[in-house]
């Protein structure tokens, strides 16, 4: 237990209230037409609420809360289709630096993250978005490393000052590096996505030379830091998906209560009512699956991988189903661009595909539970 027990209901209500005003559907759509999807005003509100530093240790001017507390906020971001770099900065940026609290870069950057004056992200995946092995290579130089290769689907890299890079060293060990986004040799290319509510980039490194001071961790330490980051990313995707699903449920129930056909609200028909009930059961059970995994992570992060994988698969599959049902139940209007249903559908499906899809996670959980499959 930390000394600071966050009242999650209060945190949820505060985040919901702020996002309800600042991240309206109209605003989300305006941002979709901007180059980087970044909302200066929203980020300022995040900072005023102390959200970027919620999980940062008190030693670095953060609130020292748990990942489970941060996840409450991530779920609200999903529910309000919001982004603006908060998830990337906290989950992947702060998360990477917190894994090496004694490092100079952690001491330099964590207070800036906590105060909301810097944003960060991590490039963990292969160019195809696979979490299994990095797409960046590092070869030893006299006083550092030369990085080449590419990494895909890096969230909010375009608005981050600091980027963490996961690379495979020529000695076969993994490396976790931290570099300024504007370092020569590093290219950040926005990836147009069907989910217009968030931004991702492909990054490429070509003769990117970094000194030893940029190495956050190497070898086994890097591998376990990366493992932890991938678990955090999976939990964050699940938390986001839960918020999306809850929003779709609320929106659909509201619609079923007000939309009338055959002289009565469509929600009075069992064909509609029962599907709403199924959506509710899916959201309720997904919330439990996620809460279990968050509790496991906060109790012992290194031992939570199986729980994380189970929760990622279950929660994201539930959200995919719920958003599909929601589009159905909205009828024709749910298929229009003007309605938010498709934004929720696309965001939930992207969460499901990010950081290991459900199949990958279930197989990983199986390998942890039972002797790995032959072949």
């Amino acid at each position: 237990m930390t000394d600071l027990d966050v009242d999650r209901d209060e945190l949820r209500a505060a985040a919901r209230d702020m996002l309800g005003r600042a991240s309206t559907s109209a605003r989300v759509r305006e941002l979709a037409d901007t180059p980087d999807g970044f909302d200066e005003n929203l980020w300022r509100l995040f900072a005023e609420m102390g959200l970027p530093g919620i999980e940062v240790s008190e030693d670095f001017d953060g609130a020292g809360a748990r990942f489970g507390d941060l996840a409450v906020v991530l779920t609200e971001l999903g529910g309000h289709l919001a982004s603006s770099g908060l998830a990337a900065t906290t989950v992947l940026g702060g998360g990477a630096l917190a894994a090496v609290p004694g490092h100079t870069l952690a001491r330099d950057w964590l207070p800036r993250i906590a105060s909301g004056t810097a944003r960060a992200s991590s490039a963990l995946l292969s160019p195809e978005g696979e979490p299994g092995s990095p797409g960046l290579r590092a070869s030893r130089t006299a006083d550092g490393w030369r990085i080449s290769g590419a990494s895909g689907y890096v969230p909010d890299a375009g608005i981050a000052e600091l980027l963490m890079l996961r690379a495979l060293g020529d000695d076969g060990g993994e490396l976790l590096l931290a570099v300024d986004r504007d370092t020569p040799g590093l290219t950040v290319m926005p990836t147009p996505m069907l989910d217009i509510t968030r931004r991702f980039s492909d990054i490429a490194a070509s003769d990117l030379v970094v000194g030893d001071a940029s190495v956050l961790a190497a070898g086994a330490a890097a591998a376990s830091a990366v493992r932890l980051l991938l678990d955090r990313a999976a939990l964050a995707a699940a938390a986001d998906a839960l918020g999306v699903a809850q929003h779709m449920l609320d929106m659909t129930v509201e619609y079923a209560k007000t939309r009338e056909q055959f002289g009565r609200a469509i929600g009075s028909f069992q064909a509609v009512k029962h599907r709403c009930a199924d959506m509710f059961v899916a959201v309720t059970t997904a919330r439990i699956a996620l809460a279990e995994a968050l509790a496991a992570y906060d109790a012992a992060p290194a031992d939570a991988t199986a729980a994380v994988s189970q929760a990622k698969a279950y929660t994201c599959d539930a959200a995919a189903q719920v958003t599909e049902d929601g589009v159905d139940l909205h009828g024709g209007i749910g298929f229009t661009w003007e309605h938010d249903a498709h934004l929720l559908l696309k965001r939930a499906r992207l969460d499901q595909a990010l950081y290991g899809d459900s199949r990958t996670h279930r197989r990983a959980a199986a390998d942890l539970a039972w002797v790995p499959a032959a072949g």
């Binding site: 059970t285 699956a289 197989r363 539970a369």
Partner: protein, 401 residues
């Protein structure tokens, strides 16, 4: 991380485990077959008394009546008993859950004193007289009549799906006392002594081959007025408590049973072969095992959460419907998966022991039996309407009276 209370709970678990290892009968599965006969009832009664000796027969009851365990302790008791595949108290299920919930919610002090200690002592088996041939999902349309005549109500009608009625001493009976009132307002709730003349019980053989269900024909059955429970005409409201208990708290135990069954499924996947290799090496089988393991974990948490809510708020709400839907459909998915792995062997004619859980390892029979929960206790369609209307606030279906 040690949470205060963990040590205490660990000590409690050690105590329960030691007791269970000493007392849970061994080999009962083979001894008591598929027939709910007198010998089986004696076995159930002796197991109840054994449990009572340990203090575990009615873990969910209040301290006043012989329970008084915290929610975590109840879970520990169920976990430890399930671990050893202890017999379920199937004959006393209605007594321990439905009758207890109803009597403590609406019974008089006298009714509670008369029945609760007797239930705990194994002297009273209870059954339910709710459904009728014409009143299943539309329970409120029930037509069994109770007419006041001096100090008695005279009851005539027919009940159906009464589990264990043949061996029951008492019945929780719903009957109509005012046929002119709107259908939910004309129902009263009675405690019926099954030895009363005029009761004819006939077994119904189920799809599993076993005959737990019964029909009950009531002809001029006289119930003393003091056996009315709650106020006259308040029967429908009180019945909701009985039904919520069934949908909710009972599943706490069943969830622990299911998590044991999950380990059987893993064992089965190790034994079963796909293309000559153990099924557990097959990636799709592995994925499905993980899916079910996740779901069982969710169910256990869902039950505890619901019961914590009940303890905080007092009384079950419509949330119990979520547990019922999720439990029953998960039970069916697990058994279905078991059937798919167990091959032809599971289709050989066998019988599941009556005291077994809903999961006995006879996968095909367990699968068939899963409709006990899908349909029983209010079909899942009805539960979905309850969730839609009472949890989500969707408008009711227009009612035709």
């Amino acid at each position: 991380m040690t949470v205060p209370g963990d040590d205490k709970l660990a000590a409690f678990r050690a105590k329960v485990r030691a007791w269970a290892e000493d007392h849970v009968p061994v080999g009962w599965e083979d001894q008591y077959g598929a027939t709910a006969d007198a010998e089986y009832i004696d076995f159930q009664r002796s197991w109840l008394r054994e449990l009572r000796g340990g203090g575990y027969a009615a873990a969910h009851w209040s301290k006043e009546w012989g329970g008084g365990y915290s929610l975590s302790e109840q879970v520990v008791i169920f976990e430890e008993l399930s671990r050893l595949n202890a017999p379920r108290l199937r004959s006393f299920f209605v007594a321990l859950h439905h009758a207890y919930a109803t009597l403590t919610h609406a019974g008089t002090a006298e009714q509670q004193r008369r029945h609760l200690p007797a239930i705990l002592n194994g002297d009273e088996i209870w059954c339910q007289g709710f459904s009728e041939p014409g009143a299943g999902s539309d329970l409120a349309s029930l037509r069994t009549r109770a007419v006041r005549d001096g100090d008695y109500y005279i009851v005539n009608g027919q009940k159906i799906w009464s589990s264990g009625a043949r061996h029951a001493d008492w019945c929780l009976l719903l009957a109509r006392t005012d046929p002119t009132a709107p259908k939910r307002r004309g129902i009263s709730y009675f405690l019926l002594d099954m030895r009363t003349p005029g009761i004819d019980v006939r077994p119904i053989r189920q799809a599993t081959g076993a005959a737990e269900f019964n029909e009950m024909f009531l002809t001029d059955v006289a119930i003393p007025v003091e056996n009315l429970i709650g106020a006259e005409y308040d029967g429908w409201r009180i019945a909701q408590t009985t039904l919520s208990a069934e949908r909710g708290i009972t599943i706490l135990e069943l969830a622990e049973r299911m998590s044991v069954a999950m380990t059987w499924l893993v064992d089965l996947a190790r034994e079963a072969r796909i293309g000559g290799r153990p099924a557990i090496e097959d990636p799709t089988i592995r994925e499905q095992l993980v899916t079910h393991q996740t779901e069982v974990g969710i169910l256990r948490r869902l039950c505890r959460q619901m019961i914590a809510d009940i303890e905080r708020r007092g009384g079950t709400g419509p949330e119990a419907s979520i547990v019922k839907v999720f439990y029953s459909e998960l039970l069916q998915r697990l058994m279905n998966f078991g059937v798919s792995l167990a091959g032809l062997a599971t289709h050989r004619n066998g019988a599941k022991p009556v005291s077994a859980g809903y999961e006995s390892g006879n996968w095909m029979l367990d699968y068939v039996d899963s409709w006990s929960w899908i349909t029983g206790g209010g079909t899942n369609e009805i539960q979905r309407s309850v969730i839609g209307e009472r949890v989500l606030g969707l408008p009711r279906e227009p009612v035709t009276q």
